[in-house]
């Protein structure tokens, strides 16, 4: 929130120097923001309502309980089948005659390109900025537990996908909810699938679109100087339009190749910073563990750290949300559960590895103001977040943390943020489209209408201030999780049967590695 507030203040200070049309443009941004906040407020309040008598949002408990239930129900599948998951991704169990089909690796990489992005850069900074380093502990725990949620939903995603006569596929929670409920003779599957689709469209427009556009604009404005958000929004919308409507695959292809490279570069830079500051790593982990249970002075104490950690982890790895089930359903496999095994690596890579690295870099960078005498973090003037060097938050905090060790890194990070945002938008445009076509039927006109709406929301997201956008993004994504997890509870026994059958055949040698 601070990023945009600062941006607005800076713009106000520069107001005298700006031409009249620019000033009008700023008021347009504010108008967009005000209308947007007005429309989304009640929805956001409902999703984040605290449990009676506490400040703990019920939705966070919902996600954690679900991930814990799946972990126990499948007897810690994320630990028992971790090695097998790696073998599947390596292609050890892939039939060479199926070469040319979507591989496990490709399905995982595609799903990761939709999740690894701003959640890992800006989201972690928001979590650590508000909840302190202790939020990292809860983020890691949520990531580890979330692996079981991902396993459950992606297995069902492949099992109940639609395969059309022309060879294309459509899958995701809306399909497994409607088909799975019908198969088990449960009522309400159709209604739940429709509800999920509605929330998925909102999630695609919120977290998968506006949040990305918003943070990309903040990052660009931080480097080139402040300017109206709608300009960034229009440029992004034009490029996304060219890809998803115009079918200009070359842009998407370039992005799909550059984004993994950027991801590796990001992790590499974080590793270098950690190696250079190896003497502080022990201290940073100390802060993470101490902060997890005491809060170390952050707003809301350790509960504040816990809420932030769980919230940001869920927003980053999307475990239980159902989006990954859409992405993973395209894989070609005779065993749906194999995709479940592969998908459980997603929260591990996204949250346990990448988010933790971001959090460690921010912690050891000294950007969070820490009072060594009291052993507590110092709060900002508003008292709602930790005070930082330069008063930055969100993606600007991550940028400053990396910049403290590698001076030119903020420029590279700006490029990475823009590319991550773009890649996530392309992924979510597909998730939203699948929900849209589930509701309105497959057809060129229906698809075009959604794609145009998606592009309009890019402009709105870039123009609105971070507060309402981040709240709506979270709310829409978590609303998907409400429906998806409800359905998963009813359908998880199907996954357990699949797991039993598969593990028995794996043990007997019926399922074995192919010699490559």
């Amino acid at each position: 929130m601070k990023i945009m507030n600062r941006a607005l203040l800076a713009a106000a200070a520069l107001g005298g120097a700006l031409p009249a049309h620019a000033q009008e443009a700023m008021s347009l941004d504010e108008k967009v923001n005000s209308v947007f906040a007005q429309f989304t407020g009640p929805f956001v309040s409902l999703i984040f309502a605290p449990l009676p008598g506490t400040s703990f949002p019920w939705i966070v408990l919902w996600l954690v309980v679900a991930a814990s239930v799946f972990t126990i129900y499948f007897s810690f599948v994320q630990l028992r089948y971790f090695g097998h998951s790696i073998s599947l991704v390596k292609g050890d169990y892939s039939d060479p005659n199926d070469a040319g089909e979507v591989s496990h690796f490709q399905a995982l990489a595609t799903a990761l390109s939709g999740t690894v992005g701003l959640g890992n850069i800006a989201g972690v900074a928001v979590a650590v900025g508000i909840g302190g380093p202790g939020a990292t502990f809860w983020m890691i725990l949520a990531g580890l537990l979330g692996m079981a949620s991902k396993f459950t939903e992606c297995t069902l995603g492949v099992k109940y996908r639609n395969e059309y006569p022309d060879g294309t596929v459509s899958g995701g929670p809306m399909y497994y909810i409607s088909k799975g409920f019908k198969e088990r003779g449960l009522p309400g599957g159709g209604a739940l699938a429709i509800l999920f689709s509605v929330f998925c469209i909102l999630g695609a427009l919120g977290g998968g679109n506006m949040f990305q556009a918003n943070q990309a604009h903040a990052q660009i404005a931080g480097i080139v100087g402040d300017y109206p958000g709608w300009i960034t929004g229009l440029v992004f919308a034009a490029v996304v339009f060219a890809v998803i409507v115009g079918g200009i695959k070359s842009i998407a292809n370039v992005t799909e190749k550059v984004v993994p490279f950027m991801g590796i570069l990001y992790v590499g830079a974080a590793l270098i910073i950690l190696i250079v500051n190896y003497d502080k790593i022990g201290w940073a982990f100390g802060q993470i563990f101490a902060g997890a249970f005491t809060g170390l002075g952050v707003a809301g104490g350790f509960v504040g750290a816990l809420i932030q950690g769980f919230k940001r982890a869920a927003f980053s790895n999307e475990a239980g949300v159902g989006s990954a089930a859409i992405a993973h359903s395209a894989v070609r496999t005779k065993e749906p559960i194999t995709e479940g095994f592969v998908s459980l690596l997603e929260p591990l890579i996204d949250t346990v590895v990448i988010c933790t690295m971001t959090a460690l870099v921010i912690t050891i960078s000294g950007q969070l103001i820490f009072d060594a005498e009291t052993g507590q973090y110092v709060l900002n003037e508003a008292g709602n977040a930790i005070a930082t060097e330069g008063g930055v938050g969100g993606v600007a905090l991550t940028s400053a943390a990396f910049g403290a060790s590698i001076s030119w890194f903020p420029y590279l990070l700006a490029i990475a943020v823009v590319l991550f945002a773009f890649s996530t938008m392309i992924s979510w445009s597909y998730y939203g489209l699948k929900a849209w076509t589930y509701l309105f039927g497959e057809g060129k006109t229906a698809e075009l209408i959604f794609k145009i709406i998606f592009c309009v929301f890019i402009v709105i997201g870039a123009a609105a201030s971070l507060g309402p956008v981040i709240d709506f993004s979270d709310a829409a994504i978590f609303a998907m999780a409400v429906v998806n997890i409800t359905a998963l509870y009813f359908l998880m026994s199907i996954v357990r049967e699949e797991l039993r059958s598969y593990s028995a055949r794996l043990a007997s040698g019926e399922i074995r590695k192919f010699a490559h």
């Binding site: 292609g91 892939s94 060479p96 070469a99 040319g100 089909e101 979507v102 591989s103 496990h104 690796f105 490709q106 399905a107 990489a109 595609t110 390109s113 939709g114 022309d166 060879g167 294309t168 596929v169 459509s170 998407a252 799909e256 190749k257 984004v259 993994p260 859409i326 992405a327 395209a330 894989v331 070609r332 392309i426 992924s427 597909y430 998730y431 490559h516």
Partner: protein, 145 residues
């Protein structure tokens, strides 16, 4: 015993030279079967968008049918016209590994390929498919210039 020759073709002019060499060799051997193989370069570790993934099966079928129609079937027909026993196969994968795998699976005795048409940075970094095949093949390889 029937000798089986696997001909790796890329559908270019040099592939025709490999075919004519194989035809000549097969006639000299006598009891010989020819297998025309076309490998579509593909990696399971490439990156694709969700939409591309959803359409991948359809695209794969189209790629196989196009390659079969334009490259493999005409080559097989020409070999049969020359009085030889011939069949064709199209596969996706790394060209060198896949050709060798086809040869092993089909019980081939020799692989005949033309010189690679790859160039530039790819060839310098990864080596050409032909060079990789020569280095890794488990059967004799004849390279036609």
């Amino acid at each position: 015993m029937t000798t089986k020759l696997v001909i790796g073709t890329d559908g270019e002019g040099s592939g025709d030279r490999a075919l004519s060499f194989a035809t000549d060799l097969a006639k000299r051997i006598g009891d010989c079967e020819l297998l025309v193989a076309y490998v579509i370069e593909w990696s399971p570790y490439s990156f694709q968008t969700a939409e591309e993934n959803a359409q991948r099966h359809k695209r794969r079928e189209e790629e196989i049918s196009t390659a079969m129609e334009r490259v493999v079937s005409p080559a097989v027909a020409a070999l049969k016209e020359a009085g030889l026993a011939a069949s064709g196969v199209v596969r996706h994968g790394d060209v060198a590994n896949t050709l060798n795998n086809i040869c092993e699976t089909e019980g081939g005795h020799q692989i005949i390929v033309c010189r690679s048409s790859e160039g530039g940075i790819t060839k310098r970094i990864f080596g050409s498919s032909t060079a990789n095949l020569v280095m890794s093949a488990t059967v004799p390889v004849t390279v036609i210039g």
